[in-house]
Symmetry: C2
Subunit: 397 residues, 2 copies
């Protein structure tokens, strides 16, 4: 299967050469109270694109998907999207206020929040701009930039419905406004129905307290919905009878349609997928032969039911294996064994979720939505694998 | 339910006071290419105990379980146990040799390993010395030290059976020897049956490449078995027809019984559990009233079926809720809503796994195994919650 080296006669009874690092003691157990990756992995970092935004305080960086396996994104590599930079918040001074159309307006300390019944869930979180540079045909160089505005972590916190019950939601309330404590005071309107369904007020991410750039000490999780409504540094939830039409739901995070009208409150992240091996950052180095095609799929509707993979630009499809357990609204790892004949190939993945929704082609998406959008581009992506093993980002129309 | 503050008349229409961190921009997206916890969490680190071992290169530190939620342990906080410190290994120079009773002795580069079909699994890993200081009655101060030799991560790699098939195991082979590339050349014998069952040769931990202290670039995972056989920095697998009786399976990692004989090759980590809230590091700060008792349970046999919790030292038990999905050979988070009356209480958890195995009392364990053991102490643990909310480690006989 692989060109591993067979040992020569005589050599087989020897252990491999003893390397330098086996010849002396390494650092002991007090060396790194909080660990870090190997220096040999220093290239595996979040990366930003300078031309994308005016300032780096209101910008984005990208998860290095090509370097990741499984479904958990390590917290240090989760993409960041900020609207006013990362506040450094003292948790002892942080407060969450719930007010507006409630019976009892309340102010919670972090200790208060931590006392409530808790739940843990693995959820993906995706910026709706993921892939957005490609609506009009831009060809980003690598999966970190085409799809790296997504991550997946284990989140722990309190059900928002639990905190709302404490305050007593009035029957007139239909929406809520969630506000962050960052310099942008990032705010989004969320329908009460979703808030009562599966939203969480989280304080932990992958076991430990949430990282600063992901909302420390408190973040709203709105499972399966676009990243920006998952308000970080959550300080305020106000109940009302209609949406607020704040800046980030009028001038931004709307989808301009061909007729000049804009779709608003397009919260749900529909099924998406991408191949992470091979990809531009992870070329095929060993020539033709066996290669396991690997990738990730996800859907804001729930579980991924099936992922198909094509190696000929969508003419023929084979069903990939999904890594169990497949979790609702979480990344799902798919894998397909493939024998490459060494000829150029067009690699594609297509996700189908538990509602039967099928990830569309870019053609289908442009037909429905035009080319003026920035957000919610979840079309089937194509990598061209060249004969020399390098991989390019291409669009097939 | 909690003493959250109700807002006064007039106050309810205002947002909470605007804190200093909302008044200026924070750092942007290039500030931390690889993120780190908030400075306010600097006390949440691995900790070692100076008197426990002669040198820190052959020692252990402990996972801060009291500060963690859910089931994923962040890689930076996974306990470390080394026998010769942490080697800094160049992955391009690292090799894995498979030899001995095989048809084709083979030498694998990291690129070779990465080509094989991969799998991802969430597994706990526990040092058999976890809790070992308490066999004779020592009272460690806090859950980090009583139970912190355990962690749980998502591991990705190749099935060991796949690599062994490549080499062709001879019918005479019954055991294998796994060897690490650290200065201790840590070696353990493992029955071939287990190797072919569910062992993995892993290169990724929680999505990214394995951390140096956890075996970078390659580690053997032996699910549910004692930590030391999960050889880190894996460089060699030798097939043979009997165990090797190396140092770490004769002078160490055996269990001295009352009759002077030692149990050897006691690989499996039986069901265990501990309450992580409250605990000595996490006292009850709010006085009597509602408290969610939280903890973790695990079993090398497979899935946790049930966890019972007692608040009166084992006279009465209530069944806790298990966080879904419950995964085989992984940490399982349990939770129980409890109303504390403010009187001193004796808190215990008792895990039952899918084989029906019930976590024993310390009395049962000592009756069967005496008090000379260091390893495999998985008895029911007791915290005493005092009237002032502080928590002590106590033993009830």
């Amino acid at each position: 299967m692989s060109p591993v080296r067979a040992l020569a006669k005589g050599e087989e009874n020897l252990p491999p050469n003893v390397p330098e690092w086996t010849r002396s003691l390494g650092p002991g157990v007090t060396a790194s109270p909080y660990g870090a990756p190997s220096p040999f992995e220093k290239a595996v970092v979040r990366r930003s694109v300078e031309w994308l935004t005016a300032t780096e305080q209101s910008s984005i960086n990208f998860t290095p998907l090509h370097a990741l396996e499984g479904i958990i994104t390590p917290s240090g590599l989760c993409f960041e999207r900020h609207h006013g930079g990362v506040p450094e918040i003292d948790p002892d001074q942080h407060r969450l206020m719930i007010h507006g159309m409630v019976e009892r307006p309340l102010l919670f300390t972090m200790d208060d929040i931590l006392r409530f019944p808790s739940v843990s869930r693995v959820y993906f979180l995706e910026c709706p701009a993921n892939g957005g540079m490609e609506w009009k045909g831009a060809q980003m160089d690598g999966v970190q930039f085409t799809h790296g505005m997504v991550h997946c972590c284990e989140w722990t916190g309190v059900k928002l419905s639990t905190l709302l019950a404490e305050a007593g939601v009035l029957p007139t309330a239909k929406w809520l406004l969630a506000e962050g404590a960052d310099a942008a005071a990032m705010t989004r309107s969320i329908p009460l129905e979703k808030a009562l369904d599966d939203c969480l007020v989280c304080y932990a991410q992958n076991g430990e307290r949430i990282r600063p750039e992901n909302g420390y000490p408190l973040r709203l999780m709105v499972p399966g919905w676009e990243g920006n409504v998952n308000i970080k540094w959550l300080r305020r939830v106000k109940l009302g009878d209609r949406p607020w039409h704040h800046r980030e739901e009028t001038s931004k995070y709307t989808d301009l349609m061909p007729d000049g009208k804009a779709r608003q409150f397009t919260f749900l992240m529909e099924a998406n997928s991408v191949i992470t091996s091979p990809c531009p950052e992870k070329p095929v180095k060993h020539g033709k032969g066996f290669h396991e095609i690997r990738g990730i799929a996800w859907s804001g509707h729930g579980k991924i039911r099936r992922v198909d993979v094509s190696t000929d630009g969508g003419d023929n499809w084979r069903t990939a294996e999904l890594q169990e357990p497949v979790l609702s609204k979480a990344l799902t790892r798919f894998r397909l064994p493939w024998t490459w004949d060494g000829a150029p190939a067009l690699l594609q993945a297509r996700a189908i979720d538990e509602t039967g929704y099928v990830q569309p082609t870019i053609e289908q998406l442009r037909k429905a939505r035009g080319v003026n959008s920035i957000y919610h581009k979840n079309s089937i992506h194509t990598w061209r694998l060249n004969a020399d093993g390098t991989v390019n980002n291409v669009q097939i129309i």
